[in-house]
């Protein structure tokens, strides 16, 4: 817009109840941080449940954890960390007024996020095949993995450490699906938000003066990454040192 209009009405993205762009940006950033506090408390309840049941049934949790695919889990961790990097770069390119690299980075972030979800889908499918979906979530297919006997190294069978019961392993999978499922839901929402960002970026709505949505959605995306940074060792790695394969 021309200089006179900008002087009279402020930046075209300035909302009427704010005095200036600085106030608007500050409010937006603060709002997202406050929202992330609610997310921390939300996941916190599940981390509490995890901690309690893990201390109650350590052997069962280790057995169940060892049955998860560590390669896929580690790969997913790498994918998500990479996507956090590309997201941070997208913010950087917006701040420095480079729209083309900005769009590329947003596309990469979205693709990496979808890759994460794809790998997760593969993992969930494996669990479904091994009858590891807990309780009666899938009607007609209750929790019922085949337990491996002494000396049987079949990876599809559940290897129970001494003291672990199938009942307790089911509790682990309950928590596994609740936490990774909730995390995946947040990633899906994040993917949706990224799509919006892409559309607006392609329309040229963001510039060094106004790019609050990119920053703020970036904060959300990094937060989802942080949740996974904790989920990965707690769910996938807790019993590896007890593996006797």
């Amino acid at each position: 817009m021309d200089a006179t209009t900008e002087q009279l009405h402020g930046h075209r993205s300035l909302q009427h109840h704010f005095e200036n762009m600085e106030q608007q940006r500050e409010a937006g950033t603060l709002g997202m941080w406050v929202f992330l506090v609610t997310e921390i408390m939300f996941f916190g309840g599940m981390f509490l449940a995890y901690t309690l049941y893990r201390s109650a049934y350590p052997q069962a949790f280790a057995s169940a954890s060892n049955h998860l695919d560590i390669t896929l889990g580690a790969l997913n961790t790498g994918v998500l960390i990479f996507s956090s990097f590309t997201m941070a770069m997208a913010v950087y390119f917006t701040q420095t007024g480079k729209p083309r690299p900005q769009v590329i980075c947003l596309v990469l972030t979205l693709l990496l996020g979808l890759t994460f979800l794809g790998i997760k889908a593969v993992e969930y499918h494996d669990k479904y095949n091994d009858h590891l979906i807990p309780g009666r979530l899938i009607p007609g297919r209750p929790f019922g993995p085949e337990v491996a006997q002494e000396g049987d190294h079949d990876p599809h069978k559940l290897h129970l450490l001494p003291g672990a019961t199938v009942r307790q392993v089911e509790l682990f999978y309950w928590i596994y699906f609740a936490m990774t499922g909730m995390h995946a839901l947040h990633m899906i929402i994040g993917a949706g938000l990224l799509t919006f960002l892409l559309i607006f970026s392609l329309k040229g709505r963001f510039d060094p003066e106004y790019h609050s949505p990119v920053e703020v959605i970036g904060l959300y995306w990094h937060f989802v990454d942080i949740i996974w940074i904790f989920l990965f060792p707690l769910l996938y790695l807790l019993g590896r040192h007890l593996e006797h394969v």
Binding site: E22, R25, T29, L30, W33, V34, L36, V37, I40, M41, G44, G45, F47, L48, T51, L52, S55, I70, A74, T77, G78, I81, F82, S84, F85, M87, A88, M89, Y92, Q95, T96, P208, E209, G218, L219, H222, F223, D225, I226, I229, F230, F232, P233, L234, L237, L238, R240, H241, L242, E243
Partner: protein
């Protein structure tokens, strides 16, 4: 614009550190540490990785004191949830009813 723009070099460094941390935590998972140390090691690495993400990717390092207070409050409140709940679970075995 009062925003601080973080350099590409910092982003790349943090990214590589995060990947390193991931590799480290996977490797450490297979080593048998004494007692509960496995968990401590894993959580220490996770907390370090998370700290890098929060400080540099989320720009906390360059944010106002108010944002620091907000992040600290969230962690503090999680701590309250855990600490007071565990004050129940950890002390249940302490008393044996004498009648």
């Amino acid at each position: 614009m009062s925003e601080h723009i973080v350099s590409v070099r910092v982003y790349v460094t943090i990214f590589l550190l995060l990947l390193l941390g991931t590799g480290l935590t996977v490797a450490a998972a297979f080593v048998e540490f004494p007692g509960k140390l496995n968990t401590v090691v894993a959580l220490t690495i996770a907390v370090t990785k998370a700290t890098f993400v929060v400080l540099y990717f989320m720009h906390l390092r360059y944010s106002s004191r108010l944002v620091w207070v907000i992040v600290a409050s969230a962690l503090f409140w999680m701590a309250i949830l855990f600490a007071l709940t565990f004050s129940d679970y950890l002390t249940r075995g302490w008393i044996s009813v004498g009648y």
